[in-house]
């Protein structure tokens, strides 16, 4: 996952959405048909977002633990900056 220590956002998406709800789940992948011994934890996130017209959509994705920790760290950075602006 990319790290943004110098945030430069040239948004590829034309529409900005509002976050309505943030749900999370911490899961553990135990086993699969290609690997009997997976044993890895992951964070699954379900976002409910609304665009300008009010249309609501669900978006879900997964993160590995290191990815989550990066995500969390960046959010803390955002919080620190937004507080001072």
């Amino acid at each position: 996952m990319e790290e943004s220590s110098e945030p430069q956002l040239d948004a590829k998406s034309k529409v900005t959405n509002q976050l309505i709800n943030f749900q999370w789940k911490l899961g553990m992948a135990v086993s699969s048909d290609s690997c009997r011994s997976l044993k890895y934890p992951y964070v699954a996130v379900m976002l409910k977002v609304a665009d300008h017209s009010g249309q609501v959509k669900n978006k879900s994705f997964e993160m590995t633990i290191p990815q989550f920790q990066n995500f969390y760290r960046q959010f803390k950075e955002i919080a620190a900056i937004i507080e001072t602006v």
Binding site: P7, L9, N17, S34, C35, L38, P41, I65, F71, I78
Partner: protein, 188 residues
């Protein structure tokens, strides 16, 4: 077994080829390609069972995500089997697994993830200033772009806007996740 198959020189290359095909999903690594490149002196009829045997061994090791003790025990057992492997071949396989284990494991993890993964994250904070007629001035806003995508598919970009309140709400949720992770990682 043909003398060329007993040797371990080309085995390393063979294991790489098998990993490319079986785990990393690279197309075009055919049996014939591997034979002609690595074991040109060996007939296809003799090569096939050899290839299947090595593939089976590699898949067993990866499937069990063997640590080095398990690996040594497993490979030793294979050397004692009828129609098994030679000690030299065992050494090559052991060396291969030790250097590729992490990458192969990552591939297997990705193969078992069917929801979208988070591929990228960028953000900026805007200091919104309203017009002098508006009551609200200096309402900063965080704009975040998430790049998400399923394995082998193009990314989708999701752009989200957060005010300070929302950022803190999400932050609280993320700290709950962090707490859960800590609880999970604690030794039993």
């Amino acid at each position: 077994m043909a003398a060329e198959l007993e040797g371990s020189k080309s085995l390393s290359g063979l294991l790489s080829g098998l990993a490319q095909d079986t785990f990393y999903g690279h197309p075009g690594i055919t049996e014939e390609l591997l034979r002609s490149q690595l074991y040109p002196e060996v007939s296809p009829e003799e090569f096939r069972p050899f290839l299947m045997k090595m593939k089976g061994i590699l898949k067993s090791i990866a499937s069990a995500d063997m640590d080095f003790n398990q690996l040594e025990a497993f490979l030793t057992a294979q050397t004692k089997k009828q129609g098994g492997i030679t000690p030299e071949q065992a050494a090559v396989i052991s060396k291969f697994w030790k250097s590729h284990k992490t990458k192969i494991r990552e591939s297997l993890m990705n193969q078992s993830r069917w929801d979208s993964g988070l591929r990228g994250l960028s953000w900026r904070v805007d200091g919104k200033s309203q017009s002098r007629h508006s009551a609200q001035i200096h309402a900063p806003v965080a704009i975040m772009e998430l790049e998400i995508g399923k394995s082998g598919q193009e990314s989708e970009f999701l752009c989200l806007e957060f005010d300070e309140l929302k950022v803190n709400q999400v932050l609280k949720k993320l700290s709950e996740v962090e707490e859960s992770i800590s609880t999970l990682m604690q030794p039993a």
